[in-house]
Amino acid sequence: MNLLTVLLLFTAMVLSRVSNLRTAVKILLFQSIMVTAACLQAGWNTGEAHMYIAAVLTVLIKAGLIPFALFRVVKILRRERESNPILGPNVSFVASAILIVLAYWLIDRQLPGVVSRDALAASVSLVLIGLLLIMTRRQAVMQIIGLITMENGLYLLGLSVTMGLPLVIELGIFLDVLVAVVVLVILTYRLKLSFMTTDTSVLKKLKG
């Protein structure tokens, strides 16, 4: 349980409590920095050259571009708040705790006695909490943040399990995440334009 995994779990837990969009994006920025730190640490342990390039890429995209895009969106959404999420702040806080325990149980059951047990558990719990965020938040931006947390979790899992995927695939994944966020941001703008609100509970018309 080194400091890094603790901080990561902390950011995930806080994310499930927050309702203001700006603070949420700030937490996401912090989380991305933690991920780059993990990447640097892994690179330093294995001495792989491409890990450093990957770390630089994560900083550029995960900590730079994506938060910048999200801050621009949040700036124009003046009065938007996560008003009535499906699970209230306290309940989702307890839920994320349960998810972390579940993650640890899963790792012990599936890969007993693996070396980087904590990192694995942290990444799996990040994925699960990301999913929890998407499932329970109504705001479009919160759903985007949930999605990116999931991506971070998966990236971390890849890092800790396999000491990093080959560079080409890493590059591809980063590009995809970036484009995904760009697309989602464009859609959020359009949602704001035509629905006057980015609360996705409004999207209920297409049934049957």
Binding site: M150, E151, L157, L165, P166, V168, L187, R190, L203
Partner: protein
């Protein structure tokens, strides 16, 4: 061969960028026509090269008979889609649904979408294939949201969220697969399909099973298999018709292609019993889910979307049965379904433009309004529901015959029953739309020649496919089947 693939990848990008620069709609139209014609030509050249020497693998590029089948689908569909969209968009422009700059954006995105699909088919690395599939989602998301009205936005939002969540699961599966590859031989060729195939025997079975579960559900969401199909009807009904034709014809088939690629590797490691039960269960679930939605439906394009869910279910069932005949039928069904379904979507596009509504209740008397369109629509519906003189019956019958031969007559029988339910639903709505008295105020504008050519070409292909199966297609399909069955 390598230059051909590079050219095939490069051409859509080139046409895309050039369209962005060009301003006049006329110019855009011509550029795209030439561009897509050339891309299809190069794809066909690749397939021709393939029939000469079996496999081509260089670096991350890898093409064999299996991808040849899908390349054929993409080649045919991309050309008919662009051909159709030239006059479809022209009509939209005239009706005022879209403005000038949107036209350029449409063609740019369309070419990007075609580029990503070709990437999926030519790349040999499972990781990169994941990246390409994710890219197709993003490219088509903006196309689904093209009109930027309320329901298009809703469809696009759900499309992106559901598919990205699904794709993350697939990423998880691919990472676990890479982990097993690391344990097996140190992972020099990370996630390269050929090397994975060679060492598939020595992979750790329980981990590979876990990996395949995630991969199957991830790509299954992209392919629209049963419980994960929820995005499909929304996306296909809100997208412009040529795009929904491409979506249901080519994109779903590429997702199936991804599943099959992974299945071959997993099959080597874990044996086919696990894989086949999974495929059969999800295949049957998809057909079962499609029946109620087709029986009671009010939107024409949602009706066609659910018919795509049913056909994808049938294809997965084919792969699930596992015998060479079944896989042959499934691959043939991919090709037939792609051509048939795209023809149907184009027709639906023209009809919705004509009647200015997608609601089946208000579309009546199509035969009176324009006999050619009516007959083509009737032929297309009869074809897609698997009536004999048409191609889809041939592949459907092969699948049923393989099911009976493979020792599961109950499966074959119940599939037939479900298909007849779908036939009843589709015919009911087709008859309501084709016959009866047409609304008075409807003045019928002539259908653009390009659209008519695209539709006529697809329908002629469907009819010809029913009568005779070209020899070269037969060899490609049998070779691809041997690859899948792991000969």
């Amino acid at each position: 061969m390598r230059e051909l693939i590079i050219l095939a990848l490069f051409l859509p990008l080139l046409t895309g960028t050039v369209t962005m620069l060009a301003v006049k709609p006329q110019a855009i139209k011509i550029i795209n026509l030439i561009g897509s014609f050339l891309t299809s030509l190069t794809l066909l050249a690749i397939i021709h090269q393939l029939t000469v020497h079996e496999v081509f693998s260089a670096g991350i590029l890898y093409v064999d008979y299996l991808s040849a089948v899908l390349l054929l689908v993409v080649a045919v569909l991309s050309f008919t889609a662009v051909l159709f969209s030239t006059s479809y968009m022209e009509r939209d422009l005239a009706d005022g649904h879209i403005s000038e700059p949107m036209l350029a954006r449409y063609y740019g995105l369309l070419n990007l979408f075609i580029f990503t699909m070709i990437c999926v088919l030519v790349v040999g690395n499972l990781g990169l294939m994941w990246v390409a599939i994710e890219a197709t989602t993003l490219a088509s998301a903006l196309l689904v949201a093209f009109y930027f009205n309320r329901s298009a936005l809703e469809a696009a939002w759900k499309y992106v969220m559901v598919c990205t969540v699904g794709i993350c699961l697939a990423l998880l599966g691919t990472i676990i697969l890479y982990y097993t590859q690391l344990n097996a031989d140190g992972g020099t060729q990370a996630l390269d399909w050929l090397s994975l195939l060679q060492i598939s025997g020595s992979l750790d079975p329980s981990m590979v099973k876990l990996a395949f579960v995630f991969i199957f559900i991830g790509y299954g969401t992209k392919a629209g298999l049963a419980p994960m199909h929820t995005w499909l009807p929304d996306a296909h009904s809100q997208a412009p018709s040529p795009v929904s034709g491409l979506l249901s014809g080519a994109l779903l088939s590429c997702a199936i292609y991804a599943i099959v690629r992974n299945m071959i590797v997993v099959q080597g490691a874990v044996g086919s019993q696990f894989v086949h039960t999974l495929l059969i269960v999800f295949g049957m679930a998809s057909i079962l889910i499609a029946v109620p939605f087709i029986l009671v439906q009010h939107d024409v394009k949602r009706l066609l979307a659910y018919s795509s869910v049913e056909h994808i279910g049938l294809i997965t069932l084919g792969f699930g049965l596992g015998s060479p005949l079944a896989v042959y039928g499934a691959l043939l069904h991919i090709v037939n379904h792609a051509v048939g379904k795209s023809a149907l979507f184009y027709l639906a596009g023209i009809i919705t433009q004509e009647y200015q509504t997608k609601n089946i209740v208000r579309i009546r008397g199509l035969m009176k309004v324009s006999p050619i369109l009516g007959t083509m629509f009737m032929i297309a519906v009869l074809a897609i529901t698997g009536s004999p003189p048409f191609a889809i019956f041939v592949s459907k019958f092969t699948l049923i015959w393989a099911a009976f031969l493979g020792g599961s007559p109950l499966l074959g029988g119940s599939t037939l029953l479900l298909l007849s339910g779908i036939f009843a639903g589709m015919m009911y709505y087709c008859l309501r739309m084709c016959f009866g008295s047409a609304p008075k105020k409807l003045e019928f504008q002539r259908v653009g020649t390009a659209a008519m050519v695209a539709m006529a070409a697809s329908i002629v292909m469907v009819i010809a496919g029913g009568m005779v199966l070209p020899a070269w297609l037969h060899t490609i399909l049998t070779q691809a089947a041997t690859i899948v069955v792991g000969g």
